[in-house]
Amino acid sequence: MADFEPKIIAFCCNYCAYAAGDLAGSMRISYPTNVRIIRLPCSGRAEIQEVLDALYNGADGVLVIGCEEGDCHFIEGNFKAKRRMERARTLLEEAKMNPDRLEFHYNSAAHGPQLAALFEEFTGKIRELGPNTSSAPKEKAHAREASQ
């Protein structure tokens, strides 16, 4: 398991988490390459279905990161996201998947180092958990498209 490189998707809001990622870059704070960021206008745009899809498609871990309490550019999108991700974790549990593969965090735009630390820590946790074996078989890949 030592050479297991987890695939991690981080849904980041544009105003804080994504900006903190930029700041971590400006400050040259390194973190594992495993984390791949998808930018959203607000963490409130993070959908349960998409988060589950990420895991279903083969991500080993998913992060949803929004602004700190009170900092949300859209007033309360971050709280909505948090509640939704709590629900998503319950769904994972119900599906007998480890809910720890999904985490929600607040991270301010000024907290570049903290974001890098979070990426480091989460990658470590997922490495411990090992590969996500519950992802769907390949042939179901286009279920999404078919449904639309």
């Binding site: 695939k7 804080c16 930029d22 400006s26 745009r45 909505k80 000024a110 903290q114």
Partner: protein
């Protein structure tokens, strides 16, 4: 024009630009953001300051109608309102912002470390820097104070500060590289140069100059030990040849610099070895031959051809050289000694200095005997005496006609020679050599005295008649000067350049009278080695220009802007490097080098003594690493004339210098810091990366104290005003510190009064106390000491019980007060505005942003100390004031970009173009860009993929456009840096090609990849491929989106006809927009009808009368009294309201309006305590105000007046502060005292909140004898109404019970909001727990709501005094103007859309939307989201259970397609 780009200046600029005006935003710093960018968190919400300010930074940065002028100062403003001419000086940034990518490679190589002002000097930054990581403009800037004196003094202008700085960092090889830019003889000059640089060094003013020369030698020693020299790069062969006559320092130097330019340089040297006077004139103990040999080897290694034993005129013919070469440099030196010109000078035993040294260096022993005299005072004379000692002479004397003070020789050497036994005879000159048998036997000398100064400035020696005496000698060495011998040119084509043996040439360009022939060095004018070298360097420039047909003379004068002397007061003395030397007894026996090597540690320590006078050291390393060629040293100051209609000054504040109050130990005790220092320590981008570490030992503090009012409320320092923000600032810091420490911390705030007057502030302080355990101690600090054992800080103070207490803290924070920025004194003169005695701008309470000069306005701390929300409100208000008189110019100066007509691509095949940026080396050095580009080219639909050096550069933009057009590309992917700053740029590129800008997708492979994965290039490349793949997948799903113009109603509705409503309405009407005031009572005026005067005595009744007259007379204002709002429909720009008027017969009125301003006010409550209502002598403060105005007798006859503060405020029922009562009480107390000084006035208060300039009222009241007694909630005053009247009793901790029979008791009744539930529901605007309306953002949106187009001001927002209400009303007007000023509103784009077929009208979106946008349309039976109102957050889309809502540009298809990559990869 807005001056100052802090939060105030930015807000004003945004409001001005959005309401149709062109804005010049002038900022002295290199970036906008001001003080707020330095804050970690803000109160009372604990928002992250950077999070909330950075969208503003970006908005200002990319606004088409805001021109940011950084590094710029305002010099003056001429003219009249509407027609000002402002003169600004734009200081050079030395970085081209159009080219700089903000990569920071430059700062990595910059050797100069200076205190980082952004981090309050706690850590260091570089001379080239960004003010902070998120700065806008995002480019770097060089701080260049000027050329350092060391470089200026050096004839060759060697960048001494630069290489010294590099040595200080242990970067020895780079130091040498910098030296060699101007000096090819570092090892030589490191030993023999008389170092004019050190003479000029500013460090000499403190202790002694930096040992620059020794440092230079050190790096050469270091390189020689390592082996091969690192030589500069030689340009490509030019095919040109230059002959150099003379292999001395000047000739070789010219050869070196010519070679660097790619020319062939051939040196002809008559001696057997090159080096000239360096070899033959300088003894080995100063410059060992092997050192010189190695140095000359570097010339050969560089490709210089040196022909020794080649005497021009003998071995090679001059005329031949002239034919064979493209240019010639004559640097034949001056090796002949000047003759002594006395009787007996030809005797055996008379030597000439240069020849003597030459012979010795060639290894030919000279017969000088035991007693030797050397005549002269220069370096040759010193070399001669010291050589004579080493040659075995027993008695060596140096005879000089002036005194030691005039000796040109190096001072150190004079001492060294003396140590070696040389005797000096000063003020003596030889008159005759005494000769016997043709040999020297002695010398007759005459004594001299110093007369008048001569041309050189030295006093001329004059012989004293008859003072001759003789000295017995074996030999005499004359070292009195050298003469050139250019006789070898006689009869050649070069003969015309020789005059009396000397060469004639231009002293600057070294041109001679013959075309292509240049000359210099000692043959032109004898001097020190570095002068000869400098001339060689200059000649090389001339010859290079000559060979390239350029103007030789242009711009050749060395005329630098010199760095001012650095401030030295705080520099600690440090001893200069002592160079170890060979022991005298040892060195006089041989020619071993006297000065020994120093260690790297010694060199670094010495280099650290440098004061970095110029800040930028001109080392130019940054230009070498900048791949974008953004660094431009040639930038100069530019004066610019700007035509502006109004001026807003927002220069911000400085903090009080805590060191001025020495008793608090700032600067003396390690663990005493200021509040701004501490703020930076808490910040993630601060010097400790957000770890709270105390300075002395980097230990996490467990007990921190704050001392308030440092430099505030302090008469001693002429600062008897309150800084208004510090109480909250300290409380916030204590709260955040507690968070940082995980609660394991004790925090104490020492203060006089807790002044938490703003909205939500008292609640915040209560939380700080109850939840965070912050301890507030009312006390005066008597002493601050440092405990020697652990550097803890000991604070001695007197507590409220009068006991002296001593307590120690790990760390102490001084809450330093605010004062106007340093620049204000000068700025006010330049602009011509008046300041008050503290340096704040003088303004009128009724026009709080207007200065003494019409057309010039202020906002922020310049107007008086204030916090962020008030500054922001004032900034918007100032924008309204500033446009009032120039409203007709609205929309005339703004630019609207040309938009290329868009191509419909819906029928086209998908053709994706991919560009992968190297960003110089920022991405390319980590991520394999060609590999990524190759990878992308294989993806479906990709028709073009390439790697580029700088995707954002102008030339590349042009190439991209060409490719897009040629290849019919209809979707664009760029993998480069962050879309947050660069997406708009590329979108414009695409739009310019006629493609919808939403068909663009970006991968951030710099900030999110190469910069954070520098150690793992392979994995980074894999990740970059993944990211690019995601962007391509995303681009396939993108859809063209369009915004559509929508008309709007250009009028406003103002709810409330009080001060706030009328002010806002008048402002809008004056700017040409129809406004309807809806007032529920019968009259205009509101609370103002009950008020007598402002706190500074201005007549409010008169002002109200005037205001009502203006409003009533204004043709653009409609007034509806006795009217209330029933219903409002519509949205931003298109509201329709239904009103009900009950004036006589009830009627309903419908009005259409584009914006709504809520100014519904508040009211004084009726007290329920302190026996209110039981006696006519118990009144409220507002009633008292009326009594003072209308019933003077009642006041004059009163013996005792008592006031009780906080009646109904700051308690459980109303936890907030009513803000106005303290100053109102003070105002009324003073009025009473003025009417009858014998009336006793007693104020019972909890905290005296005379914030800001109101402190003067408090001070005056105390001086006039008003009594102040404090009370707490658990020790309330008692009021009894009995037969004797009203009695007030109060227990005081130190005095016992006080009992006052009062004639009048005034209760400061709380302010509470007017009934506003209906308005809250109608307009869908939220309220706080206290019932006041809740703004969209406490800090940055003080008058805005989440609902677009609805604004508020005045008491509806919270209690506030008159001047703050006026500011806020103007602010609400300014915000409204940003809407009303537009011809059309653009709607759509990134908004949510509903698929009505899927919608089940379940109301999920209606509940989810933070802005209440979705409604259920009755016709459709489905949700409808108005694109004009939608903000594009996507919350509704994520909540919709039927997936009926898509957020355009962030659709499920897009995200899903990106996630598919996971599956395909697996």
């Amino acid at each position: 024009m807005v001056v100052g780009a802090g939060i105030g200046g930015m807000q004003a600029s945004i409001d001005l630009a959005n309401s149709g005006f062109k804005v010049y935003l002038v900022e002295r710093d290199t970036a906008i953001g001001g003080r707020m960018a330095q804050l970690d968190k803000t109160f009372p919400t604990n928002d992250c300051s950077m999070c909330i300010i950075s969208p503003k930074l970006i908005e200002v940065g990319k606004h088409p109608n805001i021109e940011i002028l950084t590094n710029t100062e305002l010099l003056g403003v001429e003219g009249d309102p509407g027609n000002f001419e402002a003169l600004v000086k734009m200081h050079p940034r030395f970085v081209d912002l159009d080219k700089c990518t903000g990569c920071g490679e430059c700062a990595k190589v910059c050797p100069v470390e200076v205190p980082n002002e952004y981090n309050m000097g706690i850590d260091g930054t570089r001379a080239i820097r960004k003010r902070y990581p998120q700065a806008i403009p995002a480019g770097y800037a060089i701080e260049k104070k000027g050329t350092s004196p060391c470089r200026d003094a050096c004839p060759s202008h060697v960048r001494a500060q630069g290489y010294v700085a590099l040595i200080a960092e242990g970067r020895f090889d780079e130091a040498l590289k910098v030296i060699r830019k101007d000096l090819p003889f570092p090892a030589v000059c490191g030993r023999v140069c008389p170092h004019p640089c050190e003479t000029a060094c500013n460090r000499g003013d403190i202790d002694s100059p930096v040992a620059i020369q020794q440092l230079k030698r050190f790096v050469t020693d270091h390189e020689m030990k390592a082996g091969k020299a690192a030589l500069p790069e030689v340009a490509a062969d030019s095919g040109k040849k230059v002959a150099i006559i003379g292999g001395g320092p000047s000739g070789l130097s010219a050869a070196w610099f010519l070679r660097l330019k790619g020319h062939k340089a051939v040196v002809y040297e008559s001696s057997s070895k090159a080096g000239g006077m360096l070899r033959y004139g300088i003894p080995d103990y100063r410059l060992p031959q092997d050192v010189l040999d190695k140095e000359i080897q570097t010339f050969t290694d560089l490709g210089v051809e040196i022909n020794c034993n080649s005497k021009v005129g003998t071995d090679i013919q001059v005329d031949q050289l002239k034919k064979d070469f493209d240019a010639i440099y004559v640097a034949c030196g001056a090796q002949k000694d000047r003759a002594l010109n006395v009787e007996g000078q030809d005797a055996e035993g008379v030597f000439s200095g240069i020849k003597f040294l030459w012979e010795i260096s060639e290894g030919r022993k000279q017969n000088i005997g035991e007693k030797v005299a050397v005549i002269g005072g220069g370096n040759t004379a010193i070399d001669a005496v010291r050589t004579a000692v080493r040659e075995g002479a027993k008695e060596v004397t140096l005879i000089y006609r002036r005194t030691v003070n005039e000796m040109p020789a190096d001072e150190m050497e004079i001492h060294d020679a003396e140590a070696e036994g040389v005797k000096y005879v000063f003020l003596a000159a030889p008159t005759k050599v005494l000769v016997e048998d043709g040999k020297v036997k002695g010398l007759e000398v005459i004594k001299m005295e110093l007369g008048e100064a001569d041309k050189s400035g030295r006093r001329r020696p004059v012989p004293i008649e008859g003072s001759e005496y003789t000295i017995e000698l074996d030999s005499v060495i004359a070292a009195i000067g050298q003469v050139s011998d250019a006789s070898f040119l006689d009869g050649t084509v070069l003969a015309p350049i020789v005059k009396r043996g000397w060469i004639e040439c231009d002293s600057l360009s070294c041109e001679t009278s013959i075309d292509g022939v240049f000359a210099g060095g000692d043959a032109f004018k004898p001097g020190i080695a570095i002068e000869a070298i400098a001339q060689g360097k200059e000649t090389a420039v001339s010859i290079d220009r000559y060979l390239n047909g350029l103007d030789i003379k242009e711009g050749r004068e060395w005329n630098p802007h010199l760095a001012p002397k650095p401030k030295t007061a705080l520099v600690k003395k440090a001893e200069r490097l002592k160079v170890p030397e060979l022991d005298v007894s040892e060195r006089i026996k041989n020619y071993q080098e006297v000065a020994l090597e120093i260690t790297a540690e010694q060199a670094i320590a010495e280099a650290k003594r440098c004061l970095n006078c110029g800040t930028c050291s001109e080392c130019e390393l940054c230009a070498e690493v900048c791949q974008a060629n953004a660094i431009d040293y040639s930038m100069v100051e530019v004066d610019r004339q700007l035509e502006v209609g109004s001026v807003i000054l927002a220069p911000g504040f400085d903090q009080f210098e805590a060191e001025e109050l020495g008793e608090y130990g700032y600067g003396r005790w390690d663990n005493v810091v200021t509040s701004l220092d501490f703020e930076r320590m808490l910040s993630a981008t601060g010097p400790t990366k957000g770890h709270m570490l105390r300075p002395s030992d980097s230990k996490e503090p467990k007990k921190i104290g704050w001392i308030q009012c440092i430099g505030s409320r302090d008469k001693r320092k002429d600062r008897n005003y309150c800084s208004a923000v510090c109480c909250m600032f300290a409380t916030k810091e204590a709260v955040i510190a507690t968070d940082h420490a995980g609660g394991e911390i004790e925090t104490t705030i020492f203060m006089m009064d807790l002044r938490a007057t703003g909205k939500g502030f008292d609640e915040y302080c209560n939380r700080a106390k109850d939840k965070y355990g912050v301890r507030y101690v009312r006390s005066m600090i008597s002493r601050v000491d440092q405990l020697p054992e652990n550097k803890d800080v000991e604070v001695a103070y007197v507590n409220e019980e009068g006991k002296l207490i001593s307590e120690s803290f790990d760390m102490l924070v001084l809450s330093t007060g605010l004062k106007p920025a340093k620049s204000v004194a000068e700025l006010s003169k330049r602009v011509g505005i008046e300041l008050d005695s503290f340096g704040f701008a003088k303004t009128d309470p009724f026009r709080p942003m207007a200065t003494s000069r019409p057309g010039v306005f202020v906002c922020g701390v310049l107007q008086g100390p204030k916090d962020i929300p008030e500054t922001v409100a004032q900034a918007s208000g100032a924008a309204a004031f500033a446009t009032e008189s120039i409203a007709s110019a609205r929309g005339t100066k703004i630019s609207t970009p040309d938009i290329t007509e868009e191509r419909d691509i819906s029928e086209e095949d998908m053709r994706i173009g991919v560009w992968v940026c190297n960003c110089g080396i920022n991405i390319g050095s980590v991520v394999n860009v060609p590999e990524v580009a190759e990878y992308a080219s294989d993806k479906a639909n990709v028709v073009h993929s390439e790697g580029v050096l700088f995707a954002c550069s102008q030339d590349n933009q042009d190439l991209m456009k060409k490719t897009i057009k040629e290849k019919g590309i209809n979707r664009m992917v760029v993998a480069s840096c962050t879309p947050r700053t660069h997406e708009p740029l590329f979108q414009d590129t695409l739009q310019d090609c006629g493609i919808n800008k939403y068909l663009f997708s970006m991968a951030n492979i710099r900030e999110h990849c190469s910069w954070v994965h520098q150690q793992e290039p392979e994995k980074a490349t894999e990740k970059a491929k993944f990211m690019v793949d995601m962007a391509i997948r995303n681009s396939r799903e993108l859809q063209a989106l369009h915004t559509a113009p929508q008309s709007l109603v250009h009028s406003a509705m103002v709810l409330g006809g009080g001060l706030a409503g009328m002010t806002a309405a008048l402002q809008l009407a004056n700017q040409g927009f129809t406004t309807c005031i809806v007032e529920k009572t019968e009259h205009l005026g509101g609370n103002l009808r009950k008020l007598r005067a402002t706190h500074d005595g201005r007549d409010l009744r008169a002002y109200l009368k005037e205001l009502i007259e203006k409003v009533e007379a204004h043709d653009k204002i409609d007034i509806l009294c006795s009217t209330k709002l029933l219903k409002t429909d519509g949205f931003l720009g298109n509201f329709e309201s239904t009103l009900e008027q009950t004036n006589g017969i009830k009627k309903r009125i419908k009005i259409e309006h584009g914006v709504t301003i809520v100014a519904t006010g508040a009211k004084e409550t009726t007290p329920t305590t302190f026996c209110y209502g039981e006696s006519d002598d118990i009144v409220t403060q507002l009633t008292l105000d009326g009594i003072i105005a209308d019933d003077e007798t009642r006041i004059v006859t009163a013996k005792e007046v008592v006031m009780i503060q906080c009646v109904g405020s700051r308690n459980e029922e109303r936890p907030y502060c009513s803000k106005v009562c303290c100053s109102q009480a003070l105002k009324n107390a003073l009025a009473i005292k003025e009417l009858n000084p014998d009336t006793n006035v007693t104020i019972l208060y909890r905290d005296m909140r005379s914030y800001g300039m109101k402190e003067s009222l408090y001070e005056k009241a105390r001086s006039m004898g008003v009594m102040f007694m404090r009370y707490d909630l658990d020790n309330l005053p008692q009021v009894e109404v009995g037969e004797e009247g009203v009695i007030v009793k109060h227990d005081l901790p130190r005095l016992g019970t006080v009992k006052i029979k009062t004639d009048l008791l005034a209760l400061a009744a709380a302010i509470e909001t007017n009934e506003n539930q209906d308005i809250s529901e109608i307009l869908k605007i939220p309220k706080t727990n206290d019932g006041f309306f809740l703004e969209v953002h406490t800090k940055l949106g003080p008058v805005d709501f989440a609902t677009d187009g609805v604004y508020m001001c005045g008491l509806a927002h919270g209690p506030k005094p008159v001047e703050e209400t006026i500011s806020q009303a103007a602010a609400a007007a300014a915000r409204a103007l940003t809407v009303l000023a537009q011809d059309m509103l653009m709607v759509g784009g990134q908004v949510s859309v509903v698929d009505t077929d899927k919608c089940a009208a379940c109301l999920c979106c209606v509940r989810a939307c933070p802005y209440n946008v979705p409604i259920i349309s009755e016709e459709e039976g489905a949700a409808y989201i108005n694109p004009a109102e939608c903000r594009g957050c996507g919350v509704c889309a994520s909540e919709c259970p039927a997936k009926a809502i898509q957020l355009q540009h962030f659709t499920n298809n897009q995200i899903g397609s990106m996630l598919d990559i996971l599956r395909e990869e697996a």
